[in-house]
């Protein structure tokens, strides 16, 4: 099982911090998982110009290919200006319309305040649905006050990350099984 984590911004540290927790939880409990964390701050990704994702080169191709080859994706994103960051939106624009079909996608949201808690519902989920993702319904929403010096200091958040990781793995296994059973019904 391949799971790709995305830290969806090139500025700030909170999303990356949260994703480090996701990573630790996943590696501690599910050593069999092939995990890759892609922090968009580490890559030079071009804006989408409409071509097929296989025709990009460099980091753009590396990132899009990694996403396309994943069984599950954990998207970490901050909220900027009542929106997901453009860096993350660009990632979706680089991919084909049905890119997330047969993939489980879960979300970790970081934001300055609770005022932004509906952004995931109103912006991120519609994109994921359109791209045919199987969304883990419950996401982790983390506020400014839950962090202190690049650590999560609210136990509730840690528990929620643990559950998110578990849900992501369980759903990925379950859907893979459902799909295999269904595929096996065909005789070609």
């Amino acid at each position: 099982m391949k799971i790709v984590g995305i830290s969806g911004s090139i500025v700030g540290s909170k999303t990356r911090t949260a994703m480090n927790y996701v990573e630790k939880e996943l590696l501690d409990k599910y050593s069999e998982v092939d995990w890759t964390l892609l922090d968009l701050a580490d890559f030079d990704i071009q804006f989408s110009d409409g071509r097929n994702y296989l025709e990009y080169e460099g980091d753009t191709r590396l990132i899009t290919k990694a996403i396309m080859e994943a069984d599950a994706i954990v998207i970490g994103t901050p909220i900027f200006q009542a929106s997901i960051p453009a860096t993350l939106k660009n990632l979706f624009d680089l991919l084909p319309v049905n890119a997330l079909r047969d993939k489980i996608v879960s979300m970790v949201i970081t934001a300055g305040s609770s005022k932004h808690f509906l952004i995931a519902e109103q912006q991120l989920k519609p994109i994921l649905s359109y791209m045919k993702a199987q969304i883990v319904q419950t996401y982790v929403f983390i506020e400014e006050m839950d962090f202190h010096r690049k650590e999560i200091v609210n136990d509730d958040i840690s528990f929620r990350i643990a559950r998110l990781v578990e849900d992501t793995v369980v759903l990925t296994e379950s859907y893979a099984k459902i799909r295999t059973d269904k595929e096996n019904e065909y005789d070609f």
């Binding site: 409409g50 071509r51 296989l54 025709e55 049905n98 065909y186 070609f188």
Partner: protein, 351 residues
């Protein structure tokens, strides 16, 4: 229709198209050499002619897993090896070529083949060739429209005055050689979207529409919109042929055809598009209402006739060599087409 060398009384034409794909065989993982692949394409065209197939076309694709970048060169070899079958590109990417050179090539092909050449001009589903040939992807739309328009103008007149954005101006330029009968059939390659079909209607040129999956009825809107737009722009739709293109594979039974071809189409799609062909979508393709022409000869006949009822098109062209299908299987397909499918189509559609 005569202008496009199509006779209504002959009924629907049956053609083949190859994109010159050069993919590994999914069962063995092995890939034949580019040389062998090209020789087999030429051989396929010869066999197609012997079986009575009306039309053979070769696509241009500048990317990994393809061999027919120089498609007009291969068409010239086919022209020399055959006598009757119509020959065309499918498609020529006019956006990144010089229409003058394309016309020179295809007019020459027409002379070599004694009046059998056509051009189907498209605008590239893949854009790697923009970088390769030195064009800017930002000009995607405009490059195509300008160059396609110039190609049509060259076809109309031997001496041409023209100026545009993407090519040096032409002043009293004589474009030679001229095709055998003065002009070539030039078609517009149309993708799934109706907007594309509408543009073919505005230009009043024949349209070839690609149908790679899904219910045939989904494409009816494009065909109808094409004819309606043509009419609105002063063209007579009854003189404008329509061709439809899609995946094809025939075997004794539908089940066998599915079994034989699925691994090829699936791996081909995966390598080229990054996504395989879903088994569910493929299974649905067995329904007569679906465009996927994979099945027994009888089922293929029924499907083509069903589409003929829907679209009233003049030509069906089949892609049956996608995904490293071994040549002996292609020969068997041609046998089925010649022995079973063509006679039935003629019986039901010739007037």
């Amino acid at each position: 229709m005569e202008q496009y060398r199509i006779k209504k009384e002959d009924g629907i034409e049956f053609g083949l198209y190859t994109l010159g794909d050069h993919l590994p065989n999914p069962h063995t993982g092995e890939r034949i050499s580019a040389q062998q692949r090209i020789q087999e394409i030429i051989e396929l065209a010869k066999l197609a002619e012997q079986a009575g197939i009306h039309f053979f076309s070769v696509g241009e694709s500048h990317q990994e897993y393809f061999t027919t970048q120089a498609h007009s060169v291969i068409l010239a070899a086919i022209a020399q090896a055959t006598e009757r079958i119509k020959l065309s590109s499918a498609s020529t990417i006019i956006s990144t070529l010089d229409p003058v050179r394309v016309y020179e090539d295809f007019a020459t092909l027409d002379l070599i083949s004694n009046g059998r050449a056509e051009i189907i001009a498209g605008r590239a589903s893949r854009v790697g060739l923009f970088d390769l040939l030195g064009y800017d992807l930002k000009d995607y739309e405009e490059l195509y429209e300008e160059k396609f328009d110039l190609l049509l103008k060259i076809n109309e007149k031997e001496i041409i005055n023209w100026s545009g954005k993407f090519r040096a101006s032409l002043k009293n330029a004589k474009i030679i050689p001229r095709p055998l009968n003065g002009s070539l059939p030039i078609w517009r390659a149309v993708g799934g979207h109706a907007a594309s079909a509408i543009k073919a209607g505005i230009a009043g040129v024949p349209m070839q529409i690609a149908m790679l999956g899904g219910p045939a009825i989904n494409f009816k809107y494009s065909v109808d919109a094409y004819r309606q737009t043509a009419q609105e722009h002063g063209h007579d739709p009854s003189t404008l042929p329509v061709a439809v293109a899609g995946f094809f594979y025939v075997a004794e039974t539908t089940q066998q055809a599915q079994k034989e071809v699925y691994p090829h189409i699936n791996l081909g799609m995966e390598l080229i598009n990054g996504h395989g062909y879903s088994k569910r979508g493929f299974a649905q393709g067995a329904d007569n209402r679906d465009v996927l022409n994979v099945g027994s000869p009888q089922q293929i006949i029924e499907k083509i006739l069903y589409q003929y009822e829907l679209f009233g098109h003049q030509r069906y062209i089949a892609q049956m060599d996608f995904g490293g299908i071994p040549f002996d299987k292609l020969m068997k397909n041609i046998e089925f087409i010649g022995n079973d499918i063509l006679p039935a189509l003629k019986k039901y559609t010739a007037k």
